[in-house]
Amino acid sequence: MLTLVSHILPLTLIRRERVLPMPGRILVRKGQKVNANEPVGEYKPHRDYSLVDVVRVLGVPVDRVDQYIQCEVGSKIAEGDVIAGPAGFTRKLIRSPKSGKVILTGGGQVLIEFDEQPEIIQAGFSGEITELLSDRGAVIETTGSLIQGVWGNGLIDSGPLVNLASSPTLELKLDQLDMSQRGSVLLAGFCRDTQVLDMAKQLPVRGLILGSMATSLKKMAEELPFPIILLEGFGQFAINASTYKLLCSHEQREVCLNAEKADRSKGTQPEIVIPLPASGTLSQPKAVEYLSQQQKVRVLHSLHARSTGVISRMKGKVTLPNGISTRAVEVRLDHNGEKIILPIENLEILA
């Protein structure tokens, strides 16, 4: 069965498309070097419109309204510009409240589109723009370490990595935070204290990488102004050994956090990228592989969640301890060598 692959790679080619949700303006050029939080493109997700009823506001007859309208379709208007008038004894005018563009006129009405602040999409990691995608986005590439997480709060930033996790399970405590960590990306095992998140916000830090976090902190984490990435999930899980070793080796290096929300349907996961120089040609890691014997896997959920292991046997349909009948494999767990039977849906391939 084809299964999604989750990556923990010390050195690989990382290539990502950064695509605007709608046509917009691309702010970079091919060959340009970008930082993680640099804008790649901008778009206007919301436009505000105003439908000015000239007939009603000026009190003029509908068959003569056209002579009062002072703007043309397609014309740009600034705040305060006259849209229609003067009319009547008081020489009444209709002025535009904001700058914008005239979209339509007709039937005694003028439809105006107002200028809105554009939203940007950021690069996500430091790299080079290798391709432009018309008015929709750009492709960014780099070489380096890639670690994919399971949950993010949607933000992007980068900074030097500071390791506060002397062990993969260690809880991040308030007394571990101080001003010296300002502007850093912190790595810790587990967090369950709202005060810790609050202190991180006060410093401020540029990002937080956690093995796991108490579910009760989720809402607060979603509202923090820096990216947070969970490597393992909600609850209390140790950072898996490979990830921990890799991140520890990068202490003080610049790490880029793209904490975008995990969406398996789109194939997006929060990611940590540590740009590194590479000699020789590297290829992109596979996004999907066939589940097979000897594959290295990680348990996604349920029994032995977040444990890693190797598939020792493909089992076909089995009956689980709870009585459910499903397709399963036998996995030999890394941490204790125990062999357990798990549904194939509960596994991801680890690369």
Binding site: L4, L51, R264, S265, G267, A287, H301, L320, N346
Partner: protein
Amino acid sequence: MTTSIVDADSLLAIDVGATSTRAMLFDVVDGRYRYVAGGESPSTHNAPFFDIREGVHASIEQVQLITGRVLIGPDEQLIIPCQPDGTGVDTCAAIISIEPVPNVVVLGLLDDVSLESAKNLARTTYSHVVGSLSLNDHLDTEARINKIVRLKPDLVIAAGGTETGASQSVLKLIEAVGLAAFLLPKEKRPEILYVGNSELWDEVRISLENITSVQFSANVRPSLEEEQLEASRMELAKMVTRFHANHTPGVSELDLWARGGLLPSSTAFGRVIQFLSKAHRNKKGVLGVDISASAITLAGAMDGDLLSGVYTEYGMNEGVENLSNQVDLAELSRWMISDLTEEQVRNYLANKALNPSTMPVTSDELELELAVLRVLLRNAIKSYVKRWPDTLQIAGETLIAPVEPVLITGDLLNRFPGPAYCALMVLDGIQPTGITTLIEDQNRIAPALGVAAALNPLLTVQVLDTSSFHHLGTVIAPVGYARPGTPVLKLKITYPSGHESVLEVKQGSLETLPLPAGQSAKIQLQPLHRYDVGMGAAGRGGCLKVTGGTLGVIIDARGRPFQYPADPGRRRELVKKWLWTLGGN
């Protein structure tokens, strides 16, 4: 060899679901149509394929392996019709229920008249209603334009005006829709389904046809008192199929294989229920329950009149996400029998929301997921029953009046370790009243039969009548008021052998009488304390013939409306006892 559709023998049905894609082969065996074999593979409309074809091919390959029959040609296309060398299949039918579903804005004049009907129409298929417009919102045209532009709907359902009723107000709303659609990029303009005052068709067409695609169907509210969704339901179903075809590669090809007959699964399921209701003609309704990752679909029909509700918010995927974000888990706790703490439950739900297709492995996890399913099913039925024409009001709650049978299907049937769990889920979640029969679609072929009915009605009739469907048994659920422990029903069952059994049922109990599948028996019911067993009035008893099933005859006197006891220990003890009574462990 050309084969006319009417004479077609074999049929391959393909079901592309949110989690899995299934191929089901039906053919004539011993002179009757039967379900021959099925293949299943994970659906591939999501990453990394973003194309349903990989999953479709993988599921068909499994059918090929099982049957030894070649169905796919060297050109990777389905071989239609059957060839002289035995390869291929005569016809193909297909259904779909993938995500994302279209975002819909509904529009009507009055909130509790045409707008409500527009919402009910949206409910007949997989969709998210993201906003609504009506005269009651007191918005001017400018505000309506801005609202639609911000919502960026994929579809707009525009109702309003009874026949020979309001026109100017409807046209004002349509004007706002047209302007908003004009302002959106061409490829993002919503398709519009107009189901209002039919006298305005020409004006609506003139207003919209140069801006975006607009379809017309019968007025959903031809008068204040009457709601008519039947005609527009199919039109909306086609629009949803088109939405998927425009958004997901491979859907158009599947539709070609199905000769343009690709339908949303919920529509096909509704057809089967409609069909059953015409077949049964028992003056009750027939109820279908589809429990899937993408939605809970409830389809009820009385003599061909269908009322369906698709609740995407109560599908396992969205449902778990919503529950995990809830502050108060009291509703979930009441259905739980495991020892998990609130923190453990919250962690499980939060992690499950990250990986919704994972399976529970331990008993505690299974019990938690079944509790979640009960919450979702209860919420769905509570919404649905408000529109069902025949209901009972008991203790401040609205319950569905007796229906027969209750057909259960859906990909989440794989969460039940056995028939006892499935039956208890229905009894707890749907809470049927009176007398009914429970049928489990263990092969999950019911929606496929619904879409096949258009091509080959005989196939649908014959397969529905086979052992492909698992008869769980007959349920008798008396309704009334009495203290726990009070005898509320006396019954006598007379088996074909002449042997009789007498049972006195107490309030609060769940009992069974053995009666294997394929056997029938006569039951005499005598309700006590004016309990209603669905024989026409409270206190009225009588005789009836019942058919057996895996679980026999189930008498559910636990009460209606019913909820598990507040005390966790007592809850655990009772559920174990009920499962044991039903034949589970």
